[in-house]
């Protein structure tokens, strides 16, 4: 089976700055592929190259079997793209935006009423189709933008941080839509910097400073932390606790997490004992200390730190 997206040694430089540094990966058809990373990691630049909006400096990439460098027009017919800003026209109504994008995507006249009805229903905007887009709240705008990007039923969708600035409930609803599209056989390529969203993806690539530092299903990535454990540590004085625990042998990393600490350790059993002793000696009360399943954020932090140790 050929892949929906194939990327081989892709590089993009802007002057002396390398935004995308030798990136290779494949996305299978129907997959929800997540691009995870902090702002400025090169996620958007990669997506823009895949959409044919930006020429690569070197390397090659194909989308839907078409080469991004030589056949960008063919790619444009086969993708839906949702950029970071929801690029709808604020001074047009919901229905007018849909009509416009149906026009520029070249949706056949006889298919339009059906597609428009589908998008309005999907975005739950049937009642508001004559409202100006400016009047819609973030979550509605975002669903409308997604709707406009799939009017022409593209097999591959690129969503560049589609949920930034949207409230958690709307984000959840949005991911339900992404699952529906994936279930219908569409490939969804989505970038995000929300760790919880990363867990919804079938497969993930972690991008950091222009490079992919890890790739795999969320479960696989978590297992990369195997060999060392993760502890949850709650105490009365997190800062003092952190200072104490950091210097103990067997402790690899301490990070503030919510109201407590996440401590990455080599052997959970003996190290837990050492932590209790050290904190007891300093009269710091331990409310909770137990091994936990690492979250995506833990994986991400651990991988970035490993990467930094490598380059340092």
């Amino acid at each position: 089976m050929s892949h929906a997206v194939e990327v081989e040694r892709l590089v993009k430089r802007f002057g002396a700055f390398t935004a995308v540094d030798d990136v290779s990966f494949q996305v299978a058809k129907g997959e929800i592929f997540g691009f995870l990373g902090p702002n400025g990691a090169g996620k958007s630049t990669t997506i823009r190259m895949l959409c044919g909006l930006l020429g690569p400096t070197s390397g090659r990439a194909s989308v839907g079997g078409f080469d991004v460098a030589t056949e960008p027009e063919r790619i444009r017919e086969n993708i839906g793209y949702m950029s970071q800003k929801f690029s709808l026209y604020d001074d047009l109504t919901v229905a007018e935006n849909i009509d416009f994008f149906a026009g520029v995507y070249g949706v056949a006249r006889e298919r339009r009423p059906e597609r428009k009805a589908y998008v309005l229903k999907m975005a739950n905007l049937e009642e508001r189709q004559n409202d100006l887009t400016r009047q819609l709240a973030g979550g509605w705008k975002q669903r409308l933008a997604l709707g406009c990007a799939i009017l022409h039923e593209p097999p591959i969708l690129f969503l560049d941080e589609p949920t930034s600035g949207v409230d958690p409930i709307a984000r959840r609803a949005f991911w339900d839509l992404i699952y529906q599209l994936s279930a219908a056989g569409r490939t969804v390529f989505v970038s995000t910097h929300y760790m919880d969203e990363a867990e919804y993806c079938h497969r993930l690539a972690l991008m950091y400073r222009g490079r992919i530092i890890a790739m795999g299903a969320p479960g696989e990535l978590k297992r990369q932390l195997d060999g060392h454990g993760l502890l949850r540590l709650d105490s009365a004085d997190p800062l003092e606790t952190m200072r104490t625990v950091e210097s103990l042998p067997g402790v690899r990393d301490v990070a503030v997490f919510g109201g407590g600490l996440h401590v990455t350790v080599e052997e959970p059993g003996p190290v837990m004992e050492r932590i209790r002793e050290a904190l007891g000696a300093r009269h710091l009360a331990v409310r909770r200390l137990e091994p936990i399943e690492p979250s995506m954020e833990d994986v991400f932090v651990a991988l970035i730190e490993a990467e930094e140790r490598k380059t340092a």
């Binding site: 959409c51 020429g55 444009r76 690029s87 026209y89 001074d91 416009f100 994008f101 026009g103 070249g106």
Partner: protein, 378 residues
């Protein structure tokens, strides 16, 4: 191959933007209308009823006759009679009078004796245009009068009538009453079209870049040429609406004569409009920022259309380098065409060089605009 479907979608969207944006509507329709009315009613380059003060130190029948001549002319308006120079000075300083006429004490005696009598004319030169015109009027009036006096005296002596040797019969063609609105209003059409082009079209693509919608558009099958064509049709319609408004107001409200072919007017206006629109698109593609686009548009299209087109200020009177410069702006040619069609009623047999210049301009700017846009997008 341009897709009609995609171009049409852009056209409809652009019309909606224009109709929904109050600012653009004001710029597109209210500003041109206001300019038409202001220029038609208020801008008068005609100098008549020159406010004049008379200082008659002579107070004889002869001096009163000279004053009668001035008072009888439509070009002078006698504001009053004074006994010293001071009120004349004060009036010119305050701008309440433009001219003072001082007749010396011995004027009547010298005229009666057939000697050379002197009359002093004081003119406010701070507005050089009006001063020059006032000077011309008063010189010719006094000159004629003095010639009459001399020939009357000679006639009396000789017992027969002396006729002046040369009698110029003046007839002004094309604008027989020399009303400035007759040549200002046709020229204004060029300026108004430039507002549409420079100040509206130049914003349209820059706005897409600024809002981030350009990137979205580029990810769709929409081609740059379709985007430009769709937008241009919308602005073209606006330009045509303005054009009809300007011609209508000019002819119906101001009574400007339209002597030539309406078809030629429509044809040349369309070519000019397309050239101006392409220029707007070029600016828009080159800048990406609305503010920059607006300022460059103002400087490269609106101001030249206003100042260097011959619309109000005659190009022949400009310094040579400016005259050369005026050739690169299309408004110059279009203003000549407009005046030719409106006032002279001439056709392509006379105006073809200007029409050709407009066609060349349009072609060159079209190539510039599309290559700039392609370069921006790649």
């Amino acid at each position: 191959m341009i897709s009609f479907r995609r171009t049409r979608a852009v056209f409809i969207k652009e019309c909606r933007h224009i109709l929904r944006d109050v600012r653009s509507l004001i710029m597109a329709l209210a500003v041109p209308l206001l300019m038409l009315l202001l220029f038609g009613f208020a801008l008068s380059l005609d100098v008549d009823r020159i406010p004049t003060l008379i200082y008659d130190a002579d107070r004889t029948a002869a001096s009163r006759e000279l004053i009668e001549r001035l008072a009888g002319s439509p070009y002078f308006d006698i504001k009053g009679y004074v006994d010293t120079y001071r009120p004349i000075e004060a009036g010119i300083d305050r701008g309440t009078v433009l001219m003072g006429v001082a007749i010396p004490r011995d004027y009547g005696k010298r005229v009666a004796a057939g000697d050379r009598a002197e009359v002093q004319i004081l003119i406010d030169g701070s507005d050089s245009n009006s001063a020059a015109i006032a000077m011309g009027y008063v010189e010719s009036l006094v000159g004629n009068y003095s010639f009459e006096l001399r020939s009357d005296a000679l006639s009396r002596k000789a017992g027969r009538r002396f006729e002046p040797p040369i009698d110029p019969r003046l007839r002004v063609w094309y604008n027989s009453t020399l009303q400035s609105r007759n040549y200002v209003v046709p020229g204004l059409i060029a300026v108004i079209i430039m507002i549409i082009a420079a100040l509206l079209t130049s914003l349209t693509i820059a706005r897409e870049w600024e809002m981030g919608s350009m990137e979205q558009l580029l990810s769709t099958p929409l081609r740059p040429s379709e985007l430009v064509a769709g937008k241009m049709f919308a602005f073209f319609l606006l330009g045509v609406a303005d054009m009809l408004m300007a011609v209508g107001v000019g002819v119906l409200v101001f009574g400007v004569p339209l002597r030539g072919s309406i078809v030629l007017l429509a044809g040349t206006a369309s070519v000019f409009l397309f050239g101006a629109l392409f220029w707007g698109i070029f600016i828009s593609a080159a800048t990406r920022s609305q503010l920059m686009a607006y300022q460059i548009g103002l400087i490269t299209s609106f101001l030249p259309a206003f100042l260097l087109s011959g619309f109000v200020y005659a190009i022949e009177n400009m310094p040579a380098p400016i005259q050369v410069l005026s050739h690169i702006f299309p408004s110059r040619y279009f203003v000549t065409i407009l005046k030719g069609i409106f006032l002279k009623g001439v056709g392509l047999e006379v105006l073809w060089p200007q029409a050709l210049a407009l066609v060349i301009y349009m072609a060159v700017v079209f190539m510039l605009a599309t290559s700039k846009l392609r370069q921006r997008i790649a």
